[in-house]
Symmetry: C2
Amino acid sequence: MAHISVAEKYAGISSLLAHYTDSAKPLMLLAETLLRGESTLTQGERELIASYVSTRNECVYCASSHGAAAKHSPGMNAEIVSAVQCDYQNAEISDKLKTLLTIAGQVQISGKAVTPDAVANARAAGATDREIHDAVLIAAAFCMYNRYVDGLGTWEPGNPEVYDQMGIVLAEKGYIRER
Amino acid sequence: MAHISVAEKYAGISSLLAHYTDSAKPLMLLAETLLRGESTLTQGERELIASYVSTRNECVYCASSHGAAAKHSPGMNAEIVSAVQCDYQNAEISDKLKTLLTIAGQVQISGKAVTPDAVANARAAGATDREIHDAVLIAAAFCMYNRYVDGLGTWEPGNPEVYDQMGIVLAEKGYIRER
């Protein structure tokens, strides 16, 4: 049971967004902008960063739902998602994305943990300022979403099929809903 | 110098918001909603939570600017802000706010670090579900803002007077600006 009263029929962040509608608006607009707005990173690459950071924060709900959203994004598949969550250096992704995941992992620890070397490596692998910015902000944002979801003790589905269905909807329709 | 190219005339998050205007919109709307929107926590109490979490994340820019915003909010003063940053259990604040700061400190570590005991203590001190929700989300949000500001290596003013002026503007006018 969650630490506060929410509709238990909804899991994870959905239970909070349904009840706290004033904060839901900027939270979902931010997710839509970062994960699906204009960017030279693909939607799948951005969902992979979100899922990777959520995995490091041990937030099962976010890691699973954004992993599923990545899987259902163009050019991605379940093997890539699972490889990125476990050992991204050996995943079948671009060297540029590997360097951005390194930065995202540093952001997960602390903003101050990001090293000039990691940024230089990303640049050497072809990452632009905008891509470095987006990787840092996506990683930072999921340090928020993960804490919101777990800090209030929301429940998470155990059935992978539930996340898969969620991933299809997120990948196709995104984060803005009428609530 | 920041890790990416931004207008160095602006410090901290302002340098990022000025350059990356698409993400600036939801980021500032979220700050305005959480720190100044409808709530039974005062503006000053919410700014104190923001400043406390930023202090724990060692984000000088956010700790100082939101500390100054707290100081210039009704009913607050510099002594309270500095006491909360250093040793909130002995600060001249309500028992309810102390229990919410305990929860905020747990959120700063991890969403999973929030204990049922801490939530029960907050409730026993009179905190409502909404106030517990707001404390968790403000703490989580500053885990994002702090990582955004420091993860991209933005610079911070050293002069306390600069933050004081910033605090006056934030306390009076808030977070939504034409950019």
